[in-house]
């Protein structure tokens, strides 16, 4: 009988190399650190490319400027959607998933070689998609609705990217298994990791929907399938297209909790309530594919109502709960930090000079007020007819994805650079202003596009003056004004975006080193940042007068805006 000397072959857990972060106290493994770095860097590069394209789109839609010719406009718009909505966000989400598993749980990353393979697939897919779009034969918009056909390479590039992302999500789940097996934590996973698990589960659903629709569409582009049903395509494609935005929601809500924990020491008011809110996302957020089918023929009203409301708005309830518990946790923590005067001392004396906190709080407020409320109104069966495919739709989702997700991810980057790259923010004075400049621009583009959409301006349209059309129609002057203001806001957001990219890239290469003795952070963490972010335990609800006032204002705005739109609908022509 042969025996294997187990001591001779070191277990993976023993060969993994860890360091302890001197600022947060988190245990960080070398492979996890490297993979977080490369995914975050790729994310920022695609944000730069997609953001530039977005600026060109907005400047073209500014009627007085109209910078691009028609053909190039549609090409750039296709590239803008793919780069920011898919590549920037999913690369960053993979970094967040690795952070929320390996770093927060103090574990090694499962199967690092496979994680590298996933990263390479994603990079190949993303570069291929850009090359195909720029070559000019795949100007089909991000949604690529058939029977309009892109080149086979376009569909294939997205499939390759999605497969890479799917593998990365499995690495995340594998890391959770490793952490549990190797007892790197005790009891339940912390809330931030729980939120990341929610994002991971939704990601699996999303990427599976993408595969189900993109693989046959790819075969169709090769001539192997004769027909793709247009309605079926929309129902399944949006299972990817909208659900991928629900990954964002789960990821950026987790980031809100994480930044609150690390910067002001916030702990969830009640673990049970916050986790239940995430659980609502897992159960119901995926139904949102229906938001894009409300003005379509062929689907019954019953199907539309059940799906568009996320099953009686239970997922909206989840978001509304986070809308109380995130600022509530911050208020409770700030009161514990000694800021107890009046209803709002906790907020006015919050660390607004710290771009991680400022970005996080602006993201929270704008996601709720702009993206959230407009999303529910837009997703109401009958109200959708008022705005379907108008520029109101991009207005809404720039409120969620730019003002909400992107700003939250930028805020998180201000923690990732010092903690993972071990380089400090190089220009703290500039970084302080970045979330405000970008946030102002993001709020502007969202609100002005929504305004123009209310006046009927179509989305994905090169010329709202309809100069070359046979039956010209004149949009009101206010609509032109809105599109001009949208262009100005886009410039503001672009300035904020350039500031962000310059700060991040310069900090990574030339920022003050933090791995030396005596190094200090430009934007300090809370003294209990590790405990707050990586252990569970409810804080309990103290007095939260400030949060209650904020939530009350939010609810009143929500109800008011909802009924204003019904009033507007009731004045339309009659149709049934």
């Amino acid at each position: 009988m042969t025996t294997i000397d187990s001591a001779a072959v070191p277990a993976a857990s023993e060969s993994a190399s860890f360091r302890v972060c001197r600022f947060s106290g988190l245990k960080i493994e070398a492979n996890a650190e490297r993979l977080i770095k490369v995914n975050a860097v790729a994310a920022v590069l695609f944000l730069a490319l997609g953001g530039l394209m977005g600026l060109l789109v907005a400047l073209t839609r500014w009627p007085a400027v109209q910078i691009l010719p028609a053909e190039l406009f549609y090409l750039v718009l296709t590239g803008h959607g793919a780069n920011v909505l898919l590549f920037w966000i999913i690369f960053f989400e993979i970094a967040v998933l690795y952070f929320a598993s390996a770093v927060i749980l103090g574990s090694r990353l499962a199967a690092p070689k496979t994680a590298w393979f996933a990263f390479v697939l994603m990079v190949v897919g993303a570069i291929m998609a850009n090359a195909t779009v720029i070559s000019g034969d795949s100007t089909v918009m991000f949604t690529s609705y058939p029977p309009m056909k892109a080149s086979q390479w376009f569909y294939l590039s997205l499939i390759i990217f999605a497969v890479g992302a799917l593998i990365a999500v499995f690495i995340f789940f594998g890391t959770l298994v490793v952490a549990k097996a190797e007892n790197t934590y005790d009891g339940s996973v912390p809330l931030v990791t729980f939120g990341a698990i929610t994002a991971g589960i939704i990601a699996i659903f999303t990427l599976a929907s993408g595969a189900i629709i993109l693989v046959p569409t790819w075969l169709w582009s090769l001539g192997l399938i004769s027909n793709i049903d247009t309605l079926m395509y929309k129902v399944v494609w949006w299972g990817m297209g909208h659900s991928s935005q629900q990954i964002n929601v789960s990821a950026h809500v987790s980031i809100w909790y994480a930044i609150g924990a690390m910067v002001v020491g916030a702990r969830p008011l009640s673990e049970k309530v916050s986790r239940m809110a995430f659980f609502m996302y897992i159960l119901f957020l995926q139904l949102a594919s229906a938001h894009h089918i409300l003005a379509e023929p062929g689907m019954s009203s019953t199907w539309k109502i059940v799906n568009t409301s996320y099953m009686m708005y239970l997922a909206v309830m989840g978001s509304m709960i986070h809308g109380l518990t995130v600022p509530g946790a911050i208020e409770a923590a700030q009161r514990r930090n000694g800021l107890t005067r009046g209803a709002f001392e906790w907020l006015t004396k919050a660390p607004w000079g710290n771009p991680a906190f400022a970005g996080m709080f602006l993201s929270l407020v704008m996601f709720g007020f702009i993206g959230g409320i407009s999303g529910v109104v837009l997703g109401t069966e009958q109200l959708n007819v008022l705005m379907h495919n108008t520029i109101y739709v991009p207005g809404h989702f720039h409120g969620t994805v730019v003002a909400g997700t992107t700003l939250a991810f930028m805020a998180m980057t201000y923690l990732v650079v010092p903690l993972i790259f071990q380089r400090d923010i190089i220009w703290p004075g500039l970084a302080k202003w970045q979330p405000f400049v970008f946030g102002l621009g993001a709020a502007g583009i969202s609100l002005f596009m929504m305004g123009a959409g209310t006046l009927g301006v179509p989305r994905r349209h090169w010329d709202m003056s309809l100069t070359d059309a046979a039956h010209a129609f004149e949009y009101p002057a206010a609509a032109y004004l809105m599109m001009g203001l949208n262009g100005i806001s886009a410039i503001c957001a672009a300035v904020g975006g350039v500031m962000f990219i310059a700060i991040v890239v310069a900090s990574i290469f030339w920022g003050p080193r933090l791995d030396v003795v005596g190094a200090k952070l430009a934007f300090p963490l809370h003294e209990k940042s590790r405990e707050s972010v990586s252990e569970y335990g409810s804080h309990g609800t103290l007095k939260l007068p400030g949060t209650l006032i904020l939530v009350g204002i939010f609810f009143a705005s929500f109800v008011l805006y909802y009924f204003v739109n019904w009033k507007y609908l009731s004045e339309l022509w009659l149709f049934r």
């Binding site: 609705y145 005790d186 247009t230 003005a295 309830m317 705005m387 022509w573």
Partner: protein, 184 residues
């Protein structure tokens, strides 16, 4: 191993505090209200999009629209067909069927409707997906090839209304328009 044991193992057994519970109840009830209001609007509202739809080959639909247009086309005193920029004006009977064909890059033909009368509007595409956007009244409906969508429309205002395509349909997308005239 984590350095400190968690402060409270049984988080799922903790009671929910009054503030949070109150907000959960408000959010839940508001959600229920919004859900049932969509259903209620089908009974109390005048704006509900029909889901009546038939599968049809795009070329068959185009032929139906041609037949409809030649039957109900508006003629002037000399018996000549009235056209706007080469597109015939068609006057469907009040209460009857009216057809609109979306194709690269126009809505065809131009309908002349009577204010306050109801029409069964048929809408489909001959080629790609299009977006029916009626302006300035702002009614927006998707148009699919292969699906004939039928809904009853009652204009409540008169004048000349614009149709703009709001689903991307290729390089001529921004030139795709149409018109609906409504007479008193």
């Amino acid at each position: 191993m984590a350095i400190n044991p968690p402060s409270n193992r049984l988080w799922w057994k903790e009671p929910i505090h009054g503030i949070e519970l109150g907000w959960i109840i408000i959010a839940f009830l508001w959600g229920l209200f919004m859900f049932f209001f969509m259903i209620a609007w089908h009974f109390i509202g005048q704006q509900n999009l029909s889901s009546e739809t038939y599968k049809i080959q795009p070329e068959d639909y185009a032929a139906k629209v041609e037949a409809f247009a030649s039957k109900f086309k508006v003629t002037d005193a000399n018996g000549k067909a009235v056209e706007e920029d080469g597109v015939p004006v068609v006057r469907p009977p009040a209460g009857g069927d009216a057809f609109i064909l979306a194709r690269l890059w126009e809505f065809w033909p131009i309908l002349e409707l009577k204010k306050g009368e109801s029409y069964r509007i048929h809408l489909s595409s001959a080629d790609w997906q299009h977006g029916f956007s009626l302006q300035p009244t702002n009614i927006n409906i998707s148009v699919h090839p292969g699906y004939e969508h039928v809904f009853t429309l009652t204009p409540t205002g008169s004048g000349v209304f614009g149709l703009v395509c709001n689903e991307f349909c290729g390089i001529g997308h921004h030139t795709m328009t149409g018109r609906i005239r409504v007479v008193d």
